[in-house]
Symmetry: D2
Subunit: 422 residues, 4 copies
Amino acid sequence: MAVQRTRRASLALQERFRSTRSLTLSLARPLSDADATVQSMPDASPAKWHLAHTSWFFETFVLRDHVAGYVPFDASYAFLFNSYYEAEGARHARDRRGMITRPSVDEVRAYRAHVDAAIIEALPTLPEVACELVSLGCQHEEQHCELLITDIQHLLHQNPLMPALFDAPSALPAPVPPPIRWITGKEGLVEIGHNGDCFAFDCEGPRHSVWLAPHALASRPVTNGEWADFIADGGYRDPRHWLADGWSWVKAEGVEAPLYWQADDAGRWHRFGLDGLRAVNPAAPVTHVSLFEADAYASWAGARLPTEAEWESAASGLDPDAGTFLDDAGAVRPRACTGADGLCQMFGDVWEWTGSAYRPYPGFRAADGAVGEYNGKFMSGQFVLRGGSCATPRGHVRASYRNFFYPHQRWQFTGVRLARDL
Amino acid sequence: MAVQRTRRASLALQERFRSTRSLTLSLARPLSDADATVQSMPDASPAKWHLAHTSWFFETFVLRDHVAGYVPFDASYAFLFNSYYEAEGARHARDRRGMITRPSVDEVRAYRAHVDAAIIEALPTLPEVACELVSLGCQHEEQHCELLITDIQHLLHQNPLMPALFDAPSALPAPVPPPIRWITGKEGLVEIGHNGDCFAFDCEGPRHSVWLAPHALASRPVTNGEWADFIADGGYRDPRHWLADGWSWVKAEGVEAPLYWQADDAGRWHRFGLDGLRAVNPAAPVTHVSLFEADAYASWAGARLPTEAEWESAASGLDPDAGTFLDDAGAVRPRACTGADGLCQMFGDVWEWTGSAYRPYPGFRAADGAVGEYNGKFMSGQFVLRGGSCATPRGHVRASYRNFFYPHQRWQFTGVRLARDL
Amino acid sequence: MAVQRTRRASLALQERFRSTRSLTLSLARPLSDADATVQSMPDASPAKWHLAHTSWFFETFVLRDHVAGYVPFDASYAFLFNSYYEAEGARHARDRRGMITRPSVDEVRAYRAHVDAAIIEALPTLPEVACELVSLGCQHEEQHCELLITDIQHLLHQNPLMPALFDAPSALPAPVPPPIRWITGKEGLVEIGHNGDCFAFDCEGPRHSVWLAPHALASRPVTNGEWADFIADGGYRDPRHWLADGWSWVKAEGVEAPLYWQADDAGRWHRFGLDGLRAVNPAAPVTHVSLFEADAYASWAGARLPTEAEWESAASGLDPDAGTFLDDAGAVRPRACTGADGLCQMFGDVWEWTGSAYRPYPGFRAADGAVGEYNGKFMSGQFVLRGGSCATPRGHVRASYRNFFYPHQRWQFTGVRLARDL
Amino acid sequence: MAVQRTRRASLALQERFRSTRSLTLSLARPLSDADATVQSMPDASPAKWHLAHTSWFFETFVLRDHVAGYVPFDASYAFLFNSYYEAEGARHARDRRGMITRPSVDEVRAYRAHVDAAIIEALPTLPEVACELVSLGCQHEEQHCELLITDIQHLLHQNPLMPALFDAPSALPAPVPPPIRWITGKEGLVEIGHNGDCFAFDCEGPRHSVWLAPHALASRPVTNGEWADFIADGGYRDPRHWLADGWSWVKAEGVEAPLYWQADDAGRWHRFGLDGLRAVNPAAPVTHVSLFEADAYASWAGARLPTEAEWESAASGLDPDAGTFLDDAGAVRPRACTGADGLCQMFGDVWEWTGSAYRPYPGFRAADGAVGEYNGKFMSGQFVLRGGSCATPRGHVRASYRNFFYPHQRWQFTGVRLARDL
């Protein structure tokens, strides 16, 4: 017999659904039809695709599967807007998503409205299993909010005019943060992984024991100012600091600085963002660096990257809400570091590359059904990032949250916290 | 001293300018901002780019160079919308034209209006040399009208939904044309090339003598029905018919039919066009075939392609206006062949591949200045096509007109007229 | 002050040096100059290069650095035969190694003899640090022996004639081994990593604690017969079993079976080896499978791959010498599995893919100097393999030995042992 | 009834066969097994392949088809050593020819001896049609002699040691030739094409009329010294001189000088050849330049390339034997230009790029059967070269001889003669 939620839980879910859907829309509001359609690289998707795909997720896994008589908005959308769910059949090639000029972004907005209305109407009587899929769909959409931000930033950067998407005041001049302090981490047997008390993705569990060697974490992420020192010291030209694959990447791509950085004629660094081209803020955490760059920096600094177990055991007592996250549509920027005691900025501001490959925890089993393709099948060749960023919707991350990207990717808000052995 | 046009000639040029600019705009009218922005392949350009680049041509070579005090609409457009004029300096990479989501298509329309007003205002007092550039700009824009049509058709075909851009009635059923008759061509010494009595591109001259061997031309282009026979006879699978480069192309690309053709489950051929997906009309000339396919078909049929001198000497007495050309915005389609006497459809309907490589005529010299890059530098690796197509603005072609594409390209309205030795 | 070895230790090292160098030569004996020169793919090197590079290692790190007055055999060889030591300066591009037709393989044999004589002469008076480099050079050369075997096998497979390099009797028919038994592994805190009692590569340490969850290992590797069942069951066509990167690889490369397998017209599997094309032996362990295939097989079988800590803790009490290793030049083949009690064939026969990414152990520091580039810089994107293979020189591996390859690579003798959670 | 040759004609053919086969062998004599096996690029073939393929030609088209009871030397060779004859069935992939380490070059020499003996034995009783194939086979082998030279030169250049294949004295210092004189060419109606009085390839005919406009040819080819001026004047950096495809090629490949040229630290030019690395001789004709370079040079010099009709009509009265051709095995080098009257060095020294695309003559029909694939199918995208080079066996070329390569290719001995309109 299908279990149903209490009315109160149902209302909470409805509120969560509404706010998530609304955040996505507001992020896309300043986008023209063209902005929303073009795909800047195979790794990125058009904003219109994000808007539609997140709706397809609710339409397919909730409305189609759990709401009798639901009529799809448009039968062709399943083919156009499936992402990578093999179990859901044929789909449009990922690297050709930018060819879909029709439906327009306005039609996709209408699609969203159609799905929203159907979900809101269905929610009070949805069985528990479908409510969980709505909840999963909200988590899924939060991830796409972040991708929408990073993908549109990447697209606008292709335009020689480098247009700003959102007005934003210049960042206030911030004092350069004090030098990094080393905070001793837990040692010996610790438990990590999700403990089941709230929503989590399958890859965050099972909770399990890990043995930690003596180590310390840096009190804060590496700043732009420190990164400029690394560049000035020839960090991008010395193969001794680099993983072999990283060095090949640096040479093949001609990498000389973080993504979106460019020097003016006087050698001053500027960076592109959704607020346009601005001077680099030396006090803020560096971002848009790859794992290869993060690892090379750590090597140059005589340190290393933390493991995900070290990171999680240190983060488990901290409040995620203390961090800089995405609260509203607008230009997103990591906040300048303060010199507070203890571990600063573990949550928010920039995703922190760990030295851990993204692999399953002991006892991991992928979820059943199509949503089981969500995480497990990506567990090769990628590294784990932790903590969320200024482009992550607030409330989305946890201490156990595992993000993952390939070591050369850097169009997300990715940064570096150092660690070292004791 | 700068020569000036008569008032009458000036009015004629103004009228020509207005009608050309208006045709382009009307072709782009049904395009959304996204339709107008996306680039479907490196060979094609976004419609927005065509709209802007044709305006940049007038703004640069006429307004900037010949109208004192002209203020450019936007200083950044010179970088964005130059095509390949090395003399005009740096420009946006050709294969990244589709990344320019801003300016929007509406801003580009405003750019067009700005340039149009400035040209109309300047025309009465423009020196002759500038008037000639206005005239050249109109010719240039007519070429881009045709590219706009073929590029947008290519883009819409990438969309699995294959949307139609223009409503169009189904073609009336047409009788299958009678078999090809062989029309004997001129023999011995003939003159070809432009004789200087009206506008022509530099590559059309100088007029010069050519010695023709005895030969005949087919009375009409090859039809879709004949092409279907070639397919059914295994034409695409037998290397003996193909040029070596053509056979490599067929195998590498998996080519089995003209571009835009697809078979339904019953094996019936359909083709995509600006009027959507329709049944192939067996009576109409085949189109969207490459030189490689044209040559293989000719070999299969025991014939060959005409040389451009054979074609031009046969066409020189015919009236271009008898052909099917682009008169207004709308779906363009080659007309079904009739069985009239003599050479049919030499002009219009489909560009006819010749067997002649695109090389300079004896005594050719490229025009001076930036517009000298218009033709001469493309004279390697391409083949000449003659006669214009249903997507060519009426009035644009002449008997001496030389179009050129690489032998694998087929997104233009390209077809085949056979020839043979006598 | 330079420490020196005892005479006895020095003689042992001399014997080790002689036997290692001799094994390499004997493997290369049946190779023609052409066999030894051609490079079949960028991942592989010519046999001549292996012969020369191993000599360059001794010449550079021992003779040049520690033997006064040593004159290099040929000054140009340092450029030709350096592999990837950035600290050692410019070198010939890795993917162009097959272009070096001169020096000939006989000249390289003379180079070997020159270096051998110089090392043998120098050994009695070498300082301890140089003796350690000789020892490292022997380990290094053993690795290249294995690569020489796998690279030459790959090359000969490119030849449509598929020539055998070594005569070898057909394998005796072996009984199909009994079904896999599950052997419970250690649980809780274990120590892994090298304990310092003999030679080991830097990446094998430091020894450290790991917490193991309850699990079991399969009693033996997966056999060819079992793999044929996987193929017959559509294993290569069902995306649900595959990592996403693995599925892309299967489709892009058209993978349908292990490397070197081909079906005859009756559908019977044969495999190519240094003994030519032979029927697949269903009783022997499967080999030449990628991590992607190993992982997909495990998923299909309802199991998973072991972690390297699980593998090492199970192997630590076993005798490596019980396994099938490379003893002499000749065709190498994994032995058919027997049904012995306990864990069979942990050492030798086939390298066993683990589910562990190749990353540094806690406290890892790369060795100083050029030889510090040996391991650490490869620690991204690769997976660990354990146990050695029939192509590994006997005595080369230990329980702590970590081999590593990219997940798509399979020209080594790589196989699969299953594991599962308890 | 099969026609047979006179005894005298038969002996002449035998002598021609022997000398041709012997020349090839002598060219390959200094090659090691490795030299003869490696393929340096897809455009080139291993020397061993040339040795075998030329024998396969005789074995297949003469011995197999015309000598009853002939037993092939090795049945697998037909697959290995067919080149591009689609009618002859499946064959080894062209770009993998360098993977065939077995048979060895000595086995291929034995194959040659086997075929030679069989042909010599069969010759006296061969029917005329087979004699013509022997004659064609000799022509075919002469072409492969030249390719063998240019391919081995390309291979040895890949080796950082740049070994010389043949000893050769330094070229005697030669006086710089006097400036180019312009020699007026024929005007009006001329006949070109082979007139049938001796052997010719099918593409050289039919003989036909061509109308020539007034023009002149340069008295000699462009020299190395003149080319160095072009380089020094920035010729490789100025897009105005280049065809668009040529400019793309220059930028993509980083071309700055002819193939095989390199500057020493003092900026002096050296070039690699079969005699090793030598100073560039300013008095000798430039060679190893592409059509793109030839065309750019001509543009820079205010001239153009000759058409093939201009070239042939000028050459038709000249004696090919006056030129520098390949007489014996050894280093081949264009001779320094002399200042003789009239047209110098029309034959031999360097192939002269013409501005004519390689297309069929009026009335051309490919020969029947497999040998019909010899020429016609290559008639797209390539340009005609005339006159032969120092690497062409003496006696091989005629005034009507048409060689052809793609416009970017330059590993043949290709040079430039200028022309201009009058």
